[in-house]
């Protein structure tokens, strides 16, 4: 099995007001992690443990403050999180079209997906209404449906299953399950243990920006459950 991502001694900090933490909030510190091609990894940890920051560093959205990040040059990667900054004055269809193009599709290819996205998001006539008229659930459903277009080797999922009612969640999980092919590497952040158990083969517990525990899903979830 070849490596997909290697992080060595990675640290990350963000500037905050000078009176707090000396002006720098440390999100990750001394984090070392290796993920193999085809692995399905679940990231768990408390709020502020650095899970979403770690996904963004793996996605290459920003570099860490220090440390080494290596990603397999043969593999493409994308981060899927809900709501790609929808423009509230545009309709759901227009936002979906924009999201599709942002994900690298041509105009023609984006147009072909518009019907399927509207159907999946179950927006009905609201699909052609401005997003500012949507409920939070409708926005989340649209965000999930547009994100399903991603077809990359490494898929990073940030809390995307916390969407809609139970019926829609089940549909969303099934749709996502279709993307979890043997060769695709998945790194997902999710607060619900069940989603991690269902989809992941390995769990990594982050605590204060470091790897607290790494290994079998059941063992890590059990230890995490006792600690929180």
């Amino acid at each position: 099995m070849s490596a997909a991502v290697k992080l060595t001694d990675v640290a990350m900090q963000f500037a905050v007001a000078k009176q707090h933490e000396g002006g720098h909030h440390r999100v990750l510190q001394g984090l070392t992690l290796e993920i193999q091609r085809g692995e399905k990894v679940g990231l768990i940890g408390r709020n502020g443990a650095g899970k979403s920051t770690l996904l963004r560093i793996i996605a290459g959205i920003f570099p860490p403050a220090s440390g080494d990040v290596w990603r397999n040059p043969e593999m493409t990667v994308a981060l899927l999180s809900l709501g790609l900054g929808f423009k509230s004055d545009l309709t759901g269809r227009e936002n979906a079209f924009l999201a599709a193009m942002l994900q690298g599709l041509t105009r023609g290819a984006a147009n072909k997906h518009m019907g399927a996205i509207g159907d999946f998001a179950e927006l009905g006539d609201y699909y052609d209404e401005p997003v500012k008229t949507y409920s939070a659930g409708m926005r989340a459903r649209l965000g999930f449906a547009t994100g399903l277009l991603l077809e990359t080797d490494i898929l990073l999922l940030d809390e995307i299953l916390a969407v809609g009612d139970n019926k829609f969640r089940l549909k969303a999980r099934q749709a996502l399950q279709e993307k979890v092919t043997e060769d695709r590497t998945i790194v997902m952040v999710h607060h619900a243990e069940r989603a991690i158990r269902d989809m992941c083969t390995r769990a990594v517990w982050l605590e204060q920006g470091r790897v607290q525990m790494d290994g079998d899903v059941d063992a890590v979830l059990e230890a995490y459950g006792k600690a929180v």
Binding site: F14, W70, E94
Partner: protein
């Protein structure tokens, strides 16, 4: 600790939308974003797209009222003189001030996708340029209603506008980067464009400056002053602008823009970190 090394993986990432590899796809994305942004803006206002021409018209009306009626300017044919200067200057000022916030206003998107960062100011430039087409049509109607005939000199409009776009792109990129470094630049950029309005001959003729050396220096140091004068030469005075100067300004701006594109590409992820952590 070692500084982060991305190696070859950076080049492979988001291959489909990496501008250096596919300019057509980049332009298509920028064009879509600009058109949708214009559509969203039009929906916010009762008068919708009508504001594209209404706002510049009102600017001209206000300046005309103050300088012609209140202060009694001696510039001959002042209304047309002002219309050409103001309607072309607005293109510059509106774009640069809007582009200044283009990176920080898209922090949500930048936090989720590794897009080429120049997309954001580029969208603003294209958006304002689409509006400017309507303004140029309005300007042409203004001139024709004033009793002037179109002449061959009007063709100069195209190269002058191209050089102005190059100037706008350069200033828009610089403004967006500065605001990315610190939001304190927002009021400074706004003040800077007002200063430029006073220094570019929007409502006064730089050919009337008593000190010829000062006028020459102004034209050399401030390309906007030169461009506004060139527009008037072509549209109002049936003259050809100084082509050597126009070409030189254009060439320098192309070089500056290429440099800025490189900066945006080189520091793309650092820009993202800065925008997100602000």
């Amino acid at each position: 600790m070692n500084y982060c090394s991305w190696g070859d993986s950076v080049q492979r990432y988001h291959l489909k939308i990496e501008i250096s590899l596919n300019p057509a796809q980049f332009f298509s994305l920028v064009d879509t974003m600009a058109r949708l942004s214009l559509r969203a803006e039009a929906r916010r206002f009762y008068f919708g797209y009508f504001w594209w021409v209404l706002e510049p018209l009102l600017y001209v009306a206000v300046f005309w009222l103050v300088f012609e009626k209140l202060l009694g300017t001696r510039t001959p044919d002042f209304l047309m003189f002002l219309a050409v200067g103001k309607l072309t200057f607005i293109w510059f000022s509106k774009t640069v001030n809007t582009a200044a916030n283009s990176l920080v206003n898209n922090a949500g998107l930048i936090a989720r996708m590794d897009l080429p960062k120049m997309i954001f100011p580029a969208v603003v430039v294209l958006e304002c340029s689409y509006r400017q087409i309507a303004v140029f049509v309005l300007l042409a109607i203004f001139i024709l209603v004033d009793g002037r005939q179109p002449t061959a000199h009007w063709f100069w409009l195209l190269p002058i506008a191209v050089v102005q776009i190059l100037l706008i792109v350069a200033c828009a990129f610089i403004a967006a980067l500065l605001v990315c470094i610190s939001r304190d630049f927002v009021p400074l950029i706004s003040l800077g464009t007002i200063f430029l309005m006073f220094m570019s001959g929007v409502f006064w003729d730089l050919n009337t400056l008593a000190d010829e050396h000062a006028a020459e220096l102004l034209v050399v140091l401030n390309p906007l002053a030169y461009l506004l004068d060139a527009y008037r030469q072509a549209l109002l005075w049936q003259q050809s602008p100084d082509i050597t100067h126009l070409a030189a300004v254009g060439a320098i701006l192309v070089a500056i823009n290429l440099f800025l594109v490189k900066v945006m590409q080189r520091y793309s992820r650092h820009i993202a970190r800065r925008v997100i952590s602000q």
